[in-house]
Amino acid sequence: MNLTTLLIQSVAILGGLGLAVGIMLIVASRKFKVETNPLIDEILGVLPGANCGACGYAGCADFAQRVVNENAPINGCPVGGFDVAKQIGGIMGQEVAEGEKEYPFVLCNGGVNCIDRFEYVGIEDCKAVMMLSDGEKGCNFGCMGRGTCVRACPFGAMSIGEDKLPHVNKNLCTSCGLCISACPNGILAFAKESEKVHVKCRSHDKGKDVKAACTVGCIACKICEKNCPVQAITVTDFLAEIDQSKCTACGICVEKCPQHTIELRSVP
């Protein structure tokens, strides 16, 4: 067989195959057409895919579908943050404004400074302790340090430190807020980077009771309120509160607080 026949035959065979396959595929693709909105797939592509549910929907696919079909907010994925919101915005043709990043903040200074009412044996989980009694700490408002928040974080950003209080690793935190909703005692709250001064206590107990249980709790002595040059602090219901819009982070209250309850965060 010479080269020419070989070539002709092979071209014919492969060309015929190509023809057959092409026709078959196109016919099939028309016959079995399934209508999907390509936008959904596109959005799913830019979502982080953690399926953590922090957006409030059942996983990333659900969120993507709802963005397209039900006008769910395009910045609804806290994990992806601004970047993803911008990309989704691009896909959906919407604009998003960038917000300042927020991280969970621990509103309790107790930990090892707070007495234990009893010895607990059981699963390491704050909710579980709450189910048995009102929590093991002398203070009913305090952090129990058993790490329900740590276990709730899908990104491994939290850990319980030596002080028996949770700590957030900002490198890993995606601001999804799952830890905040997991805490049975409401110890965690989002705080912006720029908000520097915080009262690390949530106890509404009377000063005497606080003192009996905890060496660093707010005893509602009002010293901070009196000393604040810009009147950013008010003590209500036995607890000091800081109005972040007024606070200038001068740090006077931090120095004056006899219980060292107020913390000034250094610039990260």
């Binding site: 190509g18 396959v21 092409g22 595929l25 196109i26 693709s29 491994g156 690793n169 900002k170 490198n171 890993l172």
Partner: protein, 204 residues
């Protein structure tokens, strides 16, 4: 986008084995020796470069409905060419690599690159990408092949030259057998994961 970083990316972040986790079959199957590893990577590199080039050149002409069949035809052509050339000019290598030379056609790396890169980028960068990925593939294959060969047969022999000899005798035959491939790649991946994780916790 500069050529050098595109090239490096193929070795590190988009490393076919450790980054993209594609093309595992040849990675495990042919790494019984460094020599086979080199032969396989050479074949793959040839196909990858040409298929990336041609896909990239024709990307505007290819209708998306039959994208995959056309890619496959392009790739299969080059694979058949490599297959025939290797059979003719390097029969011992051809025998050692067995069915995995024709199987380059379904190597997920190649079709993956055609889809993910060449179909979206110009011919120059597509070729750079192909070279980078091929180099990454070569390095991984040589690493795994080296580990398996030295532990499994006590020495590394490449194209007739004994490169290293292990003082341990007798050698660990299992390493050349299929389990050795899984063990090696499993441990390598664990090490890489461990390093990555450490880096992540420390903050990138």
């Amino acid at each position: 986008m500069d050529p050098l970083s595109e090239f490096i990316r193929g070795i590190t972040r988009d490393n076919p084995t450790f980054g993209l986790v594609l093309g595992l079959c040849p990675t495990l199957a042919v790494t019984t020796s460094v020599e086979n590893a080199i032969g396989m990577s050479a074949g793959t590199a040839f196909v990858l470069v040409f298929s990336n080039l041609f896909v990239s050149l024709m990307r505007k002409q290819i209708p998306s409905t039959v994208r995959l069949p056309i890619f496959i035809i392009i790739i299969a052509t080059f694979v058949s060419i490599v297959d025939m050339i290797m059979e003719a000019y390097s029969p011992s290598m051809y025998a050692a690599l067995g069915v995995f030379i024709p199987l380059i056609v379904v190597n997920c790396i190649i079709i993956g690159r055609a889809e993910a890169y060449a179909n979206r980028n110009g011919p120059f960068y597509s070729v750079i990408d192909a070279i980078g990925i091929s180099t990454g593939f070569l390095l991984v294959l040589m690493l795994i092949g080296g580990i398996r060969e030295i532990l499994g047969s006590g020495q590394i022999v490449t194209f007739g030259h004994t490169l290293i000899t292990l003082p341990i005798n007798p050698s660990v035959t299992t390493m050349i057998l299929p389990p050795g491939a899984f063990l090696t790649i499993g441990i390598l991946m664990a090490i890489i994961n461990y390093q990555k994780e450490k880096k992540r916790v420390r903050g990138e």
